[in-house]
């Protein structure tokens, strides 16, 4: 057994038992961050903050929500929105945060793609990030079922139908997922379970993995420069704070994180109080009615691009394209064959690939919401084909990429 001495202070007492000083060093003061990074590297912290909002507001909603198809709509729209003090606030915070978290995740992902932060030892960061994305998607979808409005019901119907696998007619699988022939009580209860227990647990676990994956390779920087963290941190600790190329996570980078979080909160609360409509679809304020199909059925905005990859094709091909779109981002570290891990604008053809992918996904997103008619379905089809083609050519264009020097940035 270890040797314990009489503690001289509370800190010392804890230190002997939990090594808090060491933990603090590993996680904060001697977790080294490159200096040449911009505010995009604060998106991770913004995501943490948004997740905390989701968690806390969700706990409050949970105190009044009723997972029952007869009373769910009422418990949300009457009890929580009207009766419970500040229930409306928690609901708006939860709804807006659920939407905004995807915006920030997309920014965070495209930051990673732009700066090549998924290579050279950072593969696990990327993969754990994509697992987070997928789990968040499931979390958002299951949460969307809970108010039991028209869109809950019909989006639930359409999405679970996908599991029949087109011509495979795996209707048994669909029924197994729903627990019934159509979305009904069993369906609502299991999505409730997923939304409030299983998926949040998975997300918390995955955030842990994501952070662990960051610790060894450290975060990338905006010049793709390979830093000697050992040497640079010695310099810092020796007192040459200005000369060192790295800084502490806390308080150095954290103060910048907080600055970005501050600006973000202004934006976030503006949405919560004055512009929440985009996050809370009007159609879902009609109670679920299995006999009345809404004129337009569409998922929330963050699923639209992959929905649009499904839509323009015949059902079987559409499902294959959809499955492809769901998983392909995970393989990015292996499909990008270039040795360079520098910003996209210095990487030849990849530069066009990056901006092309961004624009194509925005086009897919907007077409995914519009009714699939005339010009919109043509644009959607082309954009979907471009999406698939771009992933196929990615290994080819990156294989022949010229080696770029990390250091030569405009200084």
């Amino acid at each position: 057994m270890a040797h314990f001495t009489k503690a001289t202070s509370v800190k010392d007492w804890l230190n002997q038992r939990l090594a808090i000083e060491k933990v603090e060093k590993v996680l904060a003061s001697e977790y080294w961050i490159p200096k040449n990074i911009n505010f995009l590297w604060a998106m991770g912290m913004v995501l943490v903050v948004t997740f905390v909002f989701l968690l806390v507001s969700g706990l409050f909603l949970l105190m009044y929500y009723q997972a029952n198809i007869e009373t769910a709509f009422y418990s949300v729209n009457f009890t929580i929105m009207r009766e419970v003090d500040f229930g409306w606030l928690w609901r708006h915070v939860h709804g807006v945060a659920a939407s905004v978290v995807f915006l920030i995740m997309y920014i965070h992902m495209f930051t990673g793609i732009y700066y090549g932060s998924y290579k050279k030892g950072r593969e696990m960061i990327w993969i754990s990030g994509m697992l987070l994305f997928i789990t968040f998607s499931a979390e958002a979808f299951s949460g969307y079922m809970l108010p039991w409005g028209q869109m809950s019901y019909w989006a639930g119907m359409v999405i679970t139908n996908l599991f029949s696998g087109g011509s495979l007619h795996a209707d048994g699988l669909v029924e197994w997922i729903r627990g019934d022939y159509v979305p009904a009580q069993a369906f609502l209860t299991r999505f409730f379970m997923l939304h409030v227990v299983l998926l949040p647990l998975a997300i918390i676990g995955l955030i842990g993995l994501h952070f662990a994956a960051l610790r060894i390779p450290h975060v990338n920087n905006q010049d793709g420069e390979e830093l000697d963290f050992e040497a640079e941190s010695k310099k810092y600790l020796a007192g040459d704070k200005a000369g060192s190329k790295v800084m502490r996570f806390a308080n150095d980078f954290m103060s910048k994180d907080m600055m970005v979080v501050g600006v973000y909160l202004i934006f976030f609360f503006y949405l919560v109080f004055y512009n929440y409509g985009f996050a809370m679809d009007p159609v879902n304020f009609d109670p679920a009615d299995g006999l009345k199909t809404p004129t337009h059925i569409y998922p929330e905005w963050y699923f639209l691009w992959s929905y649009e990859i499904l839509r323009p094709f015949s059902i079987d091909i559409g499902l294959i394209a959809f499955a492809f779109a769901q998983v392909i981002f995970i393989f990015l570290p292996f499909l990008d064959r270039s040795p360079n891990s520098v910003p996209a604008n210095r990487r030849g053809l990849f530069k066009f690939w990056f901006w092309g992918m961004l624009v194509d996904m925005i086009i897919l997103t907007s077409m995914g919401k519009l009714p699939p008619e005339g010009i919109f379905s043509t644009i959607g089809l082309i954009a979907a084909l471009v999406f698939i083609a771009m992933w196929i050519v990615l290994p080819l264009i990156t294989k022949n990429e010229k080696q770029v020097q990390g250091e030569i940035d405009e200084k």
């Binding site: 505010f39 995009l40 150095d252 103060s255 600055m259 202004i266 304020f285 961004l358 925005i362």
Partner: protein
């Protein structure tokens, strides 16, 4: 090293706004009919040219006009002959009490309604002409004098007995204009009146059965039980509801909902009532919103100052 943050921020904001524009305003523009408000002027109806005479109007309403055969006028002591449920069995719907119609409805509309309900209510696809069906509200074909003068007299009378514009509450406007067809559960409103807090469960159930019976009549009359409007302010929005009540046919060709004919002021009251039902906490939201915004700005300023302080030594 050049500071690239402003340009990066501009790029992020640009793409975010493009995305927002495409999935919100633009998509709504494509998916939903855009119908502008006509400000409840009812331009298709002729203006009342004649000066109405209240005393003559009273005689007509009580007499030849036959209004009181179907409608009650509580303010002058003419209570309903039948309760709502029974009267709906006869007419399909309970004819509204006329005490305040003079202030809730547009006067041009009222005059035209008396003369030709089918046209005023825009239900030509259901009654009259080729359909061969008569509307449950009889048209008034005149008492022998100048028809326009008689209409003006009746409208003048109805206005004279109605409460003042300032006294009209959202609840009064809604109940008179929409309440005989639409329930608003979240405000305890049913088509036969506000549901009281019954002590005895038996009484509560008896009341529910009455509303169900009334709903059956509505279904027979309109082909559908009109929706509970509790959350419509969120599901349809203010603009839609307002332009819809102005002329339902603009949106749903052939719908059974009549043009209601409310004045612009009453329409605003109706909207306010629906906001009270479905967006009850809007005032609190404004108030709390302001404080939270101020707090967030202060937080951001302190965060900025802290960052400046910490980074002093890093450059």
């Amino acid at each position: 090293m050049k500071n690239k943050e402003p340009i990066i921020l501009a790029v992020v904001v640009f793409f975010t706004l493009v995305l927002y524009y495409l999935v919100e305003p633009y998509a709504h523009h494509v998916m939903h009919k855009q119908i502008a408000s006509e400000n409840f002027v009812y331009a298709d109806l002729p203006a009342i040219e004649k000066q109405g005479d209240v005393a003559r109007g009273a005689q007509l309403v009580m007499g030849v006009g036959a209004c009181v055969g179907c409608h009650s006028i509580n303010v002058v002591g003419l209570a309903p002959v039948m309760d709502a449920v029974t009267s709906a069995k006869g007419y399909g719907v309970n004819p509204p009490d006329l005490s305040n119609v003079g202030v809730i409805y547009d006067e041009k509309f009222l005059a035209h309604l008396i003369k030709n309900p089918i046209e005023a209510l825009k239900v030509e696809h259901k009654y009259g002409g080729a359909t061969g069906l008569t509307h449950p509200m009889m048209a008034f074909s005149g008492a022998g004098g100048d028809l326009d003068q008689e209409l003006a007299d009746m409208v003048a009378y109805l206005k004279s007995i109605a409460m003042k514009q300032e006294e009209v509450t959202p609840k009064i406007a809604f109940e008179l204009a929409c309440g005989r067809c639409h329930a608003v559960n979240y405000e305890k409103w049913t088509q036969i009146g506000t549901k009281p807090n019954f002590k005895d469960e038996k009484d509560a159930l008896a009341f529910d059965i009455q509303t169900l019976e009334y709903a059956d009549s509505l279904k027979g009359y309109l082909g559908i039980v009109p929706a509970d409007l509790s959350m419509y302010i969120r599901s349809r929005g203010e603009h839609y509801i307002s332009t819809f009540m102005e002329n339902p046919q603009n949106y749903l060709k052939g719908t059974a909902m009549p043009r209601v004919g409310v004045s612009a002021e009453s329409a605003e009251k109706v909207i306010e009532y629906l906001k009270d039902a479905g967006d009850t906490k809007r005032a609190q939201r404004e108030e709390v919103g302001k404080s939270v915004m101020i707090y967030s700005i202060i937080f951001a300023i302190f965060a900025l100052l802290w960052k400046k302080e910490v980074w002093k030594d890093l450059h």
